[in-house]
Symmetry: C2
Subunit: 418 residues, 2 copies
Amino acid sequence: MDVRKYISELGQQALSASRVLSQASTNAKNSALLAIADIIIENKGSLVEINKKDLEAGKKHGLDAALLDRLELNEERILAMAQGLREIAALPDPIGEISNLSYRPSGIQVGKMRVPLGVIGIIYESRPNVTADAAGLCLKSGNATILRGGSEAINSNQAIESYIKTGLEKAGLPTTSVQVVKTIDRAAVMELVRMKEYIDVIVPRGGKGLIENISNEARVPIIKHLDGICHVYIDDKADIQKAIDIAINSKTHRYGVCNAMETLLIAKDIAEQILPKLQERFNEKGVELRGCEQTRDILTNINPASDEDWDTEYLAPILSIKITNGLAGAIEHIHAHSSGHTESIVTEDITRARKFISEVDSSSVIINASTRFADGYEYGLGAEIGTSTDKLHVRGPVGVEGLTSQKFVVIGDGQIRA
Amino acid sequence: MDVRKYISELGQQALSASRVLSQASTNAKNSALLAIADIIIENKGSLVEINKKDLEAGKKHGLDAALLDRLELNEERILAMAQGLREIAALPDPIGEISNLSYRPSGIQVGKMRVPLGVIGIIYESRPNVTADAAGLCLKSGNATILRGGSEAINSNQAIESYIKTGLEKAGLPTTSVQVVKTIDRAAVMELVRMKEYIDVIVPRGGKGLIENISNEARVPIIKHLDGICHVYIDDKADIQKAIDIAINSKTHRYGVCNAMETLLIAKDIAEQILPKLQERFNEKGVELRGCEQTRDILTNINPASDEDWDTEYLAPILSIKITNGLAGAIEHIHAHSSGHTESIVTEDITRARKFISEVDSSSVIINASTRFADGYEYGLGAEIGTSTDKLHVRGPVGVEGLTSQKFVVIGDGQIRA
C-alpha cells in the first residue's frame, strides 16, 4: 500500500466533504448524530463481539490491564457512547452565527461569522469511544474528520466508522465526512500531520510522548494538551474547612485525570494548623504524601519531595506538598513548575484572589473551588474533544466552538475606499 | 558570537519582562507609548542621519529603488511613526476584560479573561517603521517583543529601539519589554522560531518566500499571511454602476497591497454589457487586462490569461478576467484559486449574497463593497500587525486583540465535584 497516496486520497475526500458539511443545516447534522446513536445501539451486540477480537489480539501482544480496560467496549460503554452523540445533537449549533455586526464611518457594516475550521485530523490511543465522540463534535461544528486511532483498536474503530457512515447517509450527508485510517503503518501519522493542503488542524489525544512526537513532526497546526501539573494554593487567609475539602477533592475525586491536583502549596502561617488535618484525610484515602523540608518539620513521618516531584504529573494517589512564603512564593512556584492547565487558590482575601487570578497564566484559574471543575461539562460547553494548554486559538476545555473559526463579513451598498 | 546563547538570553529577558508587562496598568502602558512618540520626534534629525547610513550601505549592496524607498525614513515618515504610537495609546486596553461570567448549576461562576500571549517574535524586512508599530501593538496588549528586522535596516532599528527603551524606562516598565536582535546572522532567525520555551508566537512580515521559509522551520506557532489573491465577482443581478466602481477601486486604489483585486469574475449574462465599460476605465488607469477565452471574444484586443495567471498575486497594474457560469462558477473558481484573504460579490440579489457569504471561506467576505476595506482601520480594530490568512486563532486584520488569549476564570465559595 502506498501510504502517502492513500492518506492524500483521504485528505481530498475530506476536503470535498467539508465543503458540503460547512453548508449543512443544523437539522441535517442533528439527524445524522441521532441516527448514528440509534445504529450504534442496534448493533451493540455485534460491536461487543468485534471489540473482543481487538481485546484478544491485545492480550496476545501483551497489553497491560490498564490498556486492555481502556480498549474494552461493554454494553454500558456503548450506551454511553450513543448518549454522548445525543447530547452533542442537543447542543446549540455554533456555525453561521454573525456577531458584532455594526456600521463603520464609511457606511459598511462589519461583523464576524462563525465557520467550521474545515478538515480536522484526530490522532488518539486505545479508547475506541473517542471515534464516536470526536466524529460527533467535528460533525456538529461542520468539520470533516480523519481519525487515526490506535492500531490495537482497529477492528472496533472500523465498526464504529461503518455505523457513522450509515447514519451520515440516512441524513443525506457525505459518507466521507468521517473517515477512519485503515492502515496501522506509523507512516500514515506522519503523512497526516504534514498534509497542510487538506488538513486544517490536528488534535492529538494520548500520552505526553505521543503528543510531543506529533508536535515536533507536524506542519499542520495543532490543538494540544501536554500534561496537567495542577496546583492548589492554600492561603493563610483561607477558610480551613473549604481548604481541606478543596484539597481532598482536587486530589482524590479521580487520580488519572489531567485536572487532578499534583502539588499542594500552603502558606507558611497556616501550615501547622492545617497540615495534620490534611494528612489524616489523605491517609484515609491512601494517598502518599511527599513534602518539602518545612512540610517534613510538621509531618515528620512523610517522605521528602525531590526536585523532580515538582515537575511530575503523578496521575496516581501521590501528592507533593510545599510550604511557601505566602502568595508571592506560591505564584513563583507555579510560574516555575505549572504546565499551564489549572490552578486554584483558597482564600477569603479578595485582594489576594484578584492577584492570583491576574498573575497565574493557566488555562483555568480558580478561586475557592476544586481543580476538578476544569471541564467542558462543568463549564457549560458540553462534550469536549480535549483540553488545550496552548495559548493560541483555544485554551482550556475544547468544545464545539473551539473547532470553529471566525471570518469577517462586510455588507455595503456600493462603498469604495476614498 | 554564540548566536544560540545570545537569542536564548533575549528569550529569558523577554519572558521576565512579559510577567511584569502582563500586570502593567493601562496608564503605564499608555505613558510609555506617548513618551516613545515624543522621544522619536525629539530625535527625528538624528534618526534621519542614522537612517542615511543604512541607505548608503543599501546602495553599496545594490538594493533596488523599491527596497531603498521602503528603507528610507524621512521627516514625514518619522512623524507618522510617532502618530501611530499615539493612536495605539488611544485604543481601549483589551487586557483583563472578563466576559460571560455566569453561574453554573454547581454554583461556581465561570467566565473568560483576556490576557496577553506572553512573548511575541516579529521577523520582518526592510521597513524600519515596523519596529515602532509592532513594538507599540505588543506593548499595548501586554506582550514582550523580540524584533528581528532586515539586516539592511539594522542601524535605524537599533536607534528606534533606544528611543523605545528610554520611553519604557520613563514609564517605569522593563526596558527588556522590547528587544531588537543585534546580529545579522541568519542563524538568529532559526533560533528564534524554534525557541518554544520562551516565545509564544512568531509574526513574520515580508515576502511569501520569507514567510514560507519561516513556516517550514518554525516550532513556535505562527500568525501569518502568505498572499492576497483577492477576487471580485460581478453577478448578473449586479447594479452596473456599483460593479464598475467596486472593480475599479478594488484594483486601482493601490496596486502593491494584499487586499487589491487580482482576478475579476463576471457572470456570463452580464459580461457583454459591462466588459467594454470596464475596459475603458481600466485603460484610463493603465491597467493591463488578461482574459479567459470568453472574455477575449468580447474584448478582442487583450492578451490571454494563462493557467498561472489565476494563481498570481500581481501587486501591479495587471488584472486577469474570467467569465463564469454565474455564482456557482465563481465560487468554484474562488475555491480553486483564492488565497483565502478577501473576496467580494456585487449583486442586488439577497439569496445570492447570502450564498456567497456562507460558501466563500476567506478571512473577509464582502457584499457590494471594495476589497480595499479589508483593513484594521476600516474594521475599527485600530492599527494592525498584519493580516492572517490562517484559520486558527485569528483571521483577517490582526489588531491588539489578536495578540491576546483568553483563559477561564472560575469563582466559587468552596465548591467541590460530587
